[in-house]
Amino acid sequence: MSRITLENLTKRFKETTVLDGINLEVPEGTTLVLFGSSGAGKTVLLRCIAGAIEPDNGRILIGGSDFTDVPPEERGIGMAFQNFALFPHMSAFDNIATPLTARTLEKSAIQKAVDGVSRLLKIEHVLSHKPKALSNGQKQRTALARALVSEPKVLLLDDPLRNVDAKLRFEMRLELPRLLADRGATVIYVTQDYKEAMALGDRIAVLEAGRITQIGTPEDIYRRPANIDIAKLFGDPTINLLDVIPQRDASGVFATLSDQRIPLDDGYTEFVGEDCVLGLRPEALSFAESSKAVPVTVEAETPFNEKTVTLVTTLRKREILLSRPAGTPAPSSGSARMAIDPRGAILFDRASGNRIDPKSTASAEEAAA
């Protein structure tokens, strides 16, 4: 029983409200990624759950029982800190063993558990070193080993890959999901890296200015972001955002770009004539020869390993990023035409920034009548 439930969790520091009524449910054995930019309150939320910070309001339930006033040492949680928080005066072995010494296990049992987890994380050769003598990657693994060694039912990981180099981050991004799944623990994982969030989370909760603005599967958040800010946070290159005013004629609802029609779902009838923002994922765009495609000018091309990103401008000099698999033929300069996959188009309300969902045709007709 290790389901985590947060009810109306609120924390203020002096005048600033850092957490503003957080409600969250993490089912047992699943991984929730807490995603948000710096200062959104991710770390504070994690510390409230760990008991390092006392919330002003609200309740924290683990496995159904109230843990709000339980001191941190009695919560039975494993936690890895972003800055590692290793004990500088202890060897890596003693660092990892701290959760076990608290439970007064026998020496041999401690030795066995530490050996096991350090073999798993490939740090068995540096166990006698002090943290000062460890590389960043080794420090990060030591911190992770310390969180894992007592096999806690709840694991809190605060951006553990933030301070390690790109290669190791990539490796760990592949290893961690398996590691976490093997443990069967309920995990809350904090990160600011959208790729990490998509790779590790069963579900992602987006935290903005102390509020959770969207919870969903990685697919959900990417395809159907709740607002413009979330759309911009997920995806590389970032989503193209174009100010549009939907129009309607006999053939349906559409927006225009460089005098060409971009067909929209008929469910958007209600928003005809309203100020909207059209979000186009770079990979929903492609070069095409069709006369219905949007005329553009190719400005610059950036090749990556697996994809090529092209910057193009429309007739009215609006900049658009277009992403295609590497190696596919495309014009590298001058005029071209661009096709848009309507499934990759997302419409937002310009005033509020929130995503607009197309009403099903039936309800749209009702609204019209």
Binding site: P72, E73, N83, A85, P99, A102
Partner: protein, 285 residues
């Protein structure tokens, strides 16, 4: 450091030598004086050439002050012992009280904590003479005058604020995450204080303790007023060297050498920990 030119190295060496000479010369001169008789000390012009004698030390340790007219007994060794008892006990009490208090001030910001901390510091601003008169009267009434206990109590005015403020800074420098990590691992707050906060602030505590010891050792005015002969520390005891028949420079010098030796030795011993403390700070991140 490797890119220094020879000239730079020379200039640096000369500058360092000048500083060392400036600060060490008085101590060196006193050391020389302590090995001479009054006659050789007072000859003009002074000379570095003399036959060294240990008579001054012998007189001090035996407790006999020989002047050219008479012999009087002094209790310098007893004073030295008093200094040691008073300073060591004061620092011990201050550490016992001050370190937990410093931890509380550093980690638990409560209403008025800043005011209390500052009030404690302000004890060091007040001129000692201001509190001495009422203190003397109270002490006489309470029977604390001329007791070790009373003196150690008053010495807290010197030691406690010093230790409190220095150690507090060291506690504040420890990342709270390190302590949180230990508690989340399942250890209580007291174990965290003992196993994490204390060792990490260790160098700071050593530095503060050393400084407090030196301040207590050098204190003059509290002991002058509140202690009589058998409880007086060296600072007060040294007054005995000014006699009606003249000033025994050689013996004063020997006494000074003897009285700075303990603090000097302590400082040299504690230096190891102080340097270690500086390098420990580089572990973060």
């Amino acid at each position: 450091m490797e890119h220094q030119s020879t000239l730079e190295r020379w200039l640096r060496g000369i500058a360092l030598s000048l500083v060392v000479l400036f600060f060490m010369f008085p101590i060196f001169w006193i050391l020389l004086m302590s090995l001479q008789t009054n006659e050789t000390i007072l000859r003009s012009p002074p000379s570095m050439v003399f036959t060294p004698t240990l008579n001054n030390y012998a007189a001090i340790i035996a407790g006999r002050l020989d002047s050219n007219v008479a012999t009087m007994s002094i209790e310098f060794m007893r004073n030295l012992m008093n200094s040691f008892i008073l300073s060591a006990a004061s620092v011990a009490v201050s550490l016992l009280l001050g370190v937990p208090a410093a931890y509380a001030f550093a980690r638990h910001k409560f209403r008025g904590s800043e005011d209390i901390a500052f009030t404690l510091l302000s004890f060091r601003f007040a001129p000692p003479l201001l509190v001495l008169l009422p203190l003397t009267l109270y002490f006489q009434e309470l029977g604390l005058a001329n007791t070790y206990f009373g003196l150690i109590w008053v010495y807290q005015l010197i030691c406690l604020p010093l230790i409190l403020w220095i150690v507090r800074g060291y506690f504040e420098d420890i990342s709270p995450d390190i302590e949180h990590a230990y508690r989340i691992a399942g250890h209580g707050w007291f174990a965290t204080f003992r196993k994490i906060a204390l060792p990490l602030a260790g160098p700071g505590i050593a530095a503060a303790g050393l400084l407090a010891f030196i301040f207590a050792w050098n204190n003059f005015v509290f002991a002058l007023v509140l202690a009589s002969a058998d409880k007086q520390p060296v600072t007060v005891g040294a007054l005995a060297f000014v006699t009606a028949s003249g000033i025994q420079y050689g013996q004063i010098a020997a006494a000074i050498v003897l009285s700075i030796t303990p603090t000097l030795a302590l400082a040299l011993w504690a230096q190891r920990y102080l340097v270690e403390g500086l390098s420990l700070g580089a572990v973060k991140g």
